[in-house]
Symmetry: C2
């Protein structure tokens, strides 16, 4: 499908749906964000595990360069090995090399069935074992594997209208798991149940709720979707959008939680997010009795603690949110110096007048 | 998995298999080609339909730059939005910007079942209708959709040891279709049979042979795998590796065949390949009674006829084989001039001394 940059993401999803297809990019802001922004920031979201980041959903782009030339790559080809792949230079460049004005995006067969579960586990380590099991047993049908700490779930239960704990007892951590497929619903249900039974036997999970209806599945999703918003009534929070190799994601949660708690007893870490992509939103809510301003004064200190741990694990301090103005200093600190030099060389040759989105990224 | 550039592709496939995983890149030359070359040329192959091109199978690379600096992006992250995505600049650049020395590649769950069929149809138009049906009905399990013209199949039957026509009658065209999945074999078989029954009802296909055993499936694959080799005993051929939007692939076969036949009556066009990617190897075997040298004297004339049709359809004159030295003139002729200028600007800034793979691509 060919789209102009100003198309609202939700309208693109709807247009795909009308032809019985799926455009899988899905974000909290999909009702207002535009595809041009999604492309410029290489947006992530909740469907990355199965379908990839925004750059993986694009066949070609049109971009206006700083000197007014127009790069036209809207042929819609799935294979084209004729020189450097320029589209990937503009996607994720946050508008610093030119302005993406249109794109040809990939559509996918629309899944006809989904099987959804919220499972409880004792912490990130069994969650990682569970992820490996699900990836092996449910393979390409595994579309969602999101992590939710108990504290985060509690905030959702306390603050999000209509949300309640689907389990009788409280547990340290949860994973939202969804399989999607084009076969029969019963087959997908059976695969999910078989995998979860095996996980229960292996003591990777201690409880599970499987969505028995579309409404119940939506209710399980609401627990994840309301997480960011539900943190706000609890006072100021210091946010991190980090990634590590998937094999290190449990280590990261454990080590970063411990290091942050040591720095500030009473801190309420609330790690959640795209566990299966190795991407966590490691948000820290202030201690219950601390003033917001006092807590936020520690922003850069916590950034340093968390990002240093990420860096030691070969990870990224900005997994899906990009650099903008806010993380320029972190880019200077953590980015491979050769990569940074290459970025500056490319910026200088494509935009010598520094016209494009000045003050961002570099 | 982290691999050095000199690893043989087949050894990488075997190493993945040992840990019960799949590295899906698969090519005729997999027993001898090295992953560094696969990365530099963004190799395609027979698994692109489901898993993408080589660039889609990579999490990061290490590359040595012309001035000796080393770009290190071997973190193995699935998400990392910290500036320009430099790996995609080196992948597919055919060594003209630097030398890829290592990479972190993606592994996938190993399919546990495959369902394979050779179907016969009256030509490329019903084949395209069939492709749309398979994509809709079998969705993500559709891993292979290769087109074979009757002439090509006949050459395989005539020249490839052990290959025979699996059907009692001859037909104008064939498609090799394979579904792969991680569910039960019986489920996958049932999906393939249901889709083919519907295709037969809709008169998209006129006959079908379904592989009933692994040996039979391999025998169907051999008909496709021996296609290139089987053309050689038939005398000189003029080759094209082109792509068009998938929706135009039947138009392309029809129009290019007609135009080439008009130029040289008696010509034996042998279109085959990755129909589902919009990528065809549009090979022309010489008329039976023409000398090889006389035929090959027409190489550039046929290139012009075929590539002009491709270009009119928004396609590419080099879908998966790249530019090298052989297609540099075609690059100058057909590439979007702005893209070409950008490539030259980037080449000049990264390799001002023109040290890297001189005489290639640009």
């Amino acid at each position: 499908m060919t789209v102009e940059a100003g198309c609202i993401l939700a309208n693109i999803q709807a247009a795909a749906d009308e032809v019985d297809a799926l455009f899988p990019l899905s974000l909290a802001s999909e009702g207002s964000c535009q595809i041009g922004g999604n492309l410029s920031t290489n947006a992530g979201g909740t469907a990355v595990l199965r379908y990839g980041n925004t750059r993986d959903l694009v066949l070609g782009i049109e971009a206006v360069l700083p000197d007014g030339r127009v790069l036209n790559d809207l042929g819609g080809l799935r294979k084209n090995n004729t020189g450097f792949d320029l589209k990937h230079l503009f996607i994720g460049a946050e508008g610093t090399l030119g302005i993406i004005t249109a794109a040809v995006i990939k559509l996918f067969p629309k899944p006809t069935a989904r099987a959804t579960a919220l499972v409880a586990c004792t912490g990130p380590d069994p969650a990682l074992a569970l992820y490996a099991r699900m990836r092996g047993q449910t393979a390409d049908t595994l579309s969602t594997f999101e992590y939710i700490d108990r504290l985060g779930l509690q905030m959702v239960i306390d603050h999000a209208p209509g949300c309640s704990d689907p389990m009788a007892e409280t547990h340290p951590a949860y994973c939202l798991i969804e399989l999607t497929g084009n076969g029969a619903q019963a087959d997908l249900d059976a695969r999910l149940e078989a995998a979860l039974e095996a996980a229960y036997e292996a003591e990777e999970i201690i409880d599970a709720v499987i969505g028995a209806s579309e409404a119940q599945k939506d209710a399980l999703w609401a627990l994840r979707e309301n997480l960011s918003e539900a943190q706000k009534p609890e006072g100021a929070s210091i946010k991190h959008d980090v990634s590590v190799p998937v094999s290190r994601v449990a280590d990261f949660i454990r080590e970063a939680t411990q290091a942050c708690m040591e720095h500030m007893p009473g801190l309420r870490p609330c790690p959640f997010g795209h566990f299966g992509d190795g991407n966590l939103h490691f948000n820290l809510s202030r201690p219950v009795d601390m003033a917001d301003a006092d807590f936020l004064a520690e922003y850069s200190t916590f950034n340093r603690i968390v990002h240093d741990i990420v860096h030691q694990m070969g990870g990224s301090f900005s997994a899906e949110h990009g650099i903008g103005t806010f993380k320029r200093a972190e880019l200077r600190r953590y980015k491979d110096p050769v990569a940074l030099e290459l970025m500056e060389q490319i910026k200088a040759v494509l935009d010598p007048g520094q016209l494009m989105n000045p003050g961002k990224v570099l």
